[in-house]
């Protein structure tokens, strides 16, 4: 019996980007594996900061090329290089500034000008019916499934993440 992963790969869940490879590097010394999955055979070991090309992704696994070797590494063990083709600035996502109720934008940005009723009307015209959304989902083979949200105690080690967890 093939594993659920194998079935999903057969269904085409692995995605190979059309635009070409992302340049990146290993966040730490890590094994390049023959297949996605921690029990797969080791192709080679990447050194910390070793440059790689990311040529595809399957869930949490990145298809990765390093020199002549190709294999799979956890997404979390790779970092992307800053590329000029992607936007380089990022606004703060939290709000140490005065909380406006709109995350990511400051009060200064919000209180410029009068409420825009024309754009407001355009906003109201957007949206689709739930029936149309269901049809849209069916067209891409999206089936609703049930799962509870993840609570913090499920992944947070007792006493918080270990010292240095976020350091790089």
């Amino acid at each position: 019996m093939p594993s659920p992963r194998a079935l999903l790969i057969l269904l085409g869940s692995c995605w190979l980007p059309a635009y070409g490879a992302d340049a990146g590097y290993a966040a730490k010394a890590v094994d390049l594996l023959e297949r996605p999955g921690s029990r797969a055979k080791v192709v080679t070991t990447l050194a910390k900061k070793q440059p790689v090309e990311i040529i595809g992704r399957d869930g949490s696994w990145a298809k990765t090329k390093s020199g002549n070797a190709t294999g799979w590494v956890r997404l979390a063990d790779l970092r992307l290089k800053i590329t000029t083709s992607k936007p380089t600035a990022l606004p703060p996502s939290g709000s140490s500034r005065k909380d406006t109720g709109i995350r990511g934008f400051s009060e200064e940005e919000l209180l410029v000008g009068a409420p825009n009723q024309v754009e407001g009307e355009r906003l109201k015209q957007l949206g689709v019916t739930t029936r149309d959304a269901a049809g849209f989902a069916r067209a891409a083979n999206l089936r609703p499934r049930q799962q509870d949200y993840i609570e913090m105690r499920e992944y947070m080690p007792e006493g918080g993440f270990p010292q240095g967890f976020f350091d790089e």
Binding site: S13, W15, R103
Partner: protein, 365 residues
């Protein structure tokens, strides 16, 4: 973690809640624990506040250490009590009630906010109009419809499917997405361009939807009210047990009240909004999964986000209240890895995404 301090106090004070009269030893243990909690609260309030504000101080470390010791004691107490089938049954009943409660109040607050959905939508629409004074919707009906189809499909898997959900792609060269109460979600075209598959877009929209579902924006307004109600409810429960418990509880109430007053500092508010970002990340990933997508889309976007923002944050410590993208990336990865892998995989719908967003991606790319 941030709310652990107060949350613990209320849970601790409220334990014995729905299970009816408790056995005497359980009550004694409860009282001992309350006594300890009270002592800790008195001595460590400063530490608790530092922890909530994300400050790494001596007091914060002492508070954490003591919290851990109490948690351990709590677990030992629980282990002992679990030998009694009556306790186990009561516990199961409480868990069931809690799940039922969360279904009705996805914000997790005791008092459902006074606003009806319609009132909340009206409030949100006003905010949206204000926001649009300086931003404009992208004039691309096909793209807008596409993003709304993904968004509305996601909302149907949420606890608030009936809000008048609207998803708007707005002009902007900076990747950003955000929501206002009532179900209005905005995403800049640069943020759409940062995604490469529909599952990744679903992760971003799922994050924003979760802020609305959990009523994060409204939470602060109602938080004090909510604490009052929880305290009153716990007080009633405690009142049924013993005079000692009652008295201990009243003293705890005073300390809590004090700390609430001190909690409106900007640092503490920032600490709380940070934990809301993490919550919206994990909820958003699960919403995408519920909708049939892989849950990893948001992680992949966050990875690009992290690279794009490395310039900005560099190696400096995170600004208060701005969870660093790297921190969010690592936490979300850890959260999803706590689930069985097959409960994280699903469709990516890359081709449909590429076709629908071509205009935006060639524009920004």
């Amino acid at each position: 973690m941030n709310k652990a301090g107060l949350g613990f106090v209320l849970i601790c004070a409220g334990c014995g809640g729905h299970s009816g009269p408790s056995p005497r030893d359980m009550q004694a243990m409860q009282e001992a624990q309350m006594q300890q909690a009270l002592q800790m609260m008195r001595g460590q309030m400063e530490g608790a506040q530092d922890v909530m504000a994300g400050r790494d101080t001596e007091a914060a470390r002492a508070y954490k250490k003591q919290s851990e010791a109490m948690a351990l004691q709590g677990r030992q107490m629980d282990e002992q009590l679990r030998k009694d089938p009556k306790y186990v049954r009561a516990q199961e009943e409480r868990d069931r009630e809690h799940r039922e409660f969360l279904r009705k109040n996805p914000s997790g607050m005791e008092t459902e906010f006074k606003l009806s959905d319609a009132e909340e939508a009206e409030l949100g629409f006003g905010m949206a109009q204000q926001f649009l004074s300086s931003k404009h919707l992208v004039a691309n009906a096909g793209l807008q419809r596409y993003v709304n189809s993904v968004g509305v499909w996601l909302t149907q898997q949420s606890e608030r499917p009936n809000l008048p959900w609207r998803f708007a792609v707005i002009e902007g060269e900076t990747p950003n997405a955000f929501a206002v109460p009532g179900g209005y979600v905005f995403i800049t075209q640069a943020m759409v361009a940062l995604a490469e598959t529909e599952s990744e877009l679903a992760g971003i929209l799922g994050h924003e939807i979760s802020h609305v579902v959990r009523k994060h924006h409204l939470r602060w307004i109602y938080m004090n009210k909510d604490l009052e109600v929880s305290v009153r409810r716990a007080e009633e429960e405690i009142g049924k047990t013993s005079a000692t418990s009652r008295q201990l509880f009243q003293e705890m109430g005073k300390v809590v009240q004090n700390s609430i007053e001190q909690m409106n500092s900007p640092e503490i508010r920032a600490g709380l909004s940070k934990s809301e970002e993490f919550e919206a990340d994990t909820d958003g990933a699960i919403l995408a999964w519920r909708a049939g997508y892989e849950a990893w889309g948001l992680v992949a976007v966050m990875q690009r986000f992290e690279a794009a923002s490395r310039d900005r944050y560099g190696s400096e410590p995170a600004l208060a209240g701005h969870p660093e993208p790297l921190q969010r990336f690592k936490i979300l990865d850890a959260a999803l890895r706590s689930r069985n892998e097959r409960d994280t995989l699903g469709e990516v719908a890359a081709e449909r995404f590429q076709a629908a967003t071509q205009g935006v991606r060639s524009h920004s790319g």
